[in-house]
């Protein structure tokens, strides 16, 4: 009787050891991966800091706004009369 009980105990311990790794959390640093980032033209939602003149979610209007802003804000030659 005693050897059978001893064997079953060993078997249970072995089984527990065999499946122990299944419960581990992944240790690969990039397992979760980089979080998905939404495109910037989607906007920030309702915010008083949003520049007027473009529509959130509309890529073309966002691009046009940034191009206009770059020209108006940074190209001083377009604001001077020769």
């Amino acid at each position: 009787m005693k050897p059978i009980r001893g064997l079953s105990t060993v078997a249970i311990l072995l089984a527990a050891f065999a499946v122990a790794a299944c419960g581990e959390t992944p240790q690969d640093a990039s397992a979760a991966g980089v979080k998905v980032d939404r495109p910037v033209y989607q906007g920030v939602g309702d915010s008083p800091f949003v520049a007027p003149g473009w529509k959130a979610g509309d890529r073309t209007s966002w691009q046009a706004e940034l191009k206009a802003r770059a020209q108006y804000g940074q190209n001083d030659y377009t604001r001077m009369t020769p």
Binding site: V40, F49, L66, R69, A70, Q74, N75
Partner: protein, 200 residues
């Protein structure tokens, strides 16, 4: 749209550090971390030149290439960003970057290397746009607000230009034509050589 790019016009930069201040204020960057700084060559010597330097959002970014945990990614606009939840703060990107862009916050007497921090081209990071989490980790997301980076928009002499690469190149090209400087402009000789072989 082309890729988002910075360019600093060395003929205009007056080393006021307005871009540095604007960046620190906009993103509430902690003490000891400078996402942008002004570098002056031949400081104190007549003819000294200054340029404002930060992450150049390289098309073939060495930081991305060496990162062991692959925390970098590139947006559709060509902005190189990283995920601070994945970054392990090893500093490899700092060794790889030719501009010294990656910064590491320090705390305490001897400093502790934390998660890497760098210029985001004011495009935030991989969190909900405009959220508190994004601001605390990466700073303001001005691109998603329809604005250009604060450093360039605050530049008093418009030396620092930022935006669509095509637009920025057009502005600079127009300046060079208008001010009548071509081969004598600073840096031309270094890049393309001069008749007498001297660098400029």
């Amino acid at each position: 749209m082309a890729r988002m790019k910075f360019i600093c016009d060395a003929e205009r930069c007056i080393e006021c550090n307005g871009c540095v201040t604007a960046c620190k204020n906009e993103h509430e960057v902690p003490w000891g971390v400078n996402r942008r700084r002004v570098v002056t060559l031949n400081d104190g010597v007549p003819g000294e030149k200054s340029i404002s330097v930060a992450c150049m959002h390289c098309s073939d970014a060495p930081c991305m290439a060496v990162c062991p945990v692959n925390c970098f990614y590139r947006t559709e606009e060509g902005v190189v960003l990283h995920d601070k939840d994945v970054c392990i703060g090893c500093g490899y990107c700092s060794y790889a970057c030719p501009f010294g862009a990656p910064q590491f916050p320090s705390a305490g007497t001897f400093g502790v290397r934390g998660k890497m921090d760098k210029c985001t081209f004011c495009a935030g990071g991989p969190e909900e746009h405009g959220s508190k989490a994004e601001f605390e980790k990466y700073g303001r997301n001005r691109l998603a607000e329809g604005k250009l980076p604060a450093c360039a928009e605050m530049c008093s002499t418009k030396a620092l230009l930022a935006g669509d690469g095509d637009v920025v190149a057009d502005i600079l090209r127009n300046r060079v034509v208008q001010r009548g400087k071509g081969a004598e402009v600073w840096g031309w000789g270094t890049a393309y050589g001069t008749a007498n072989g001297r660098k400029s």
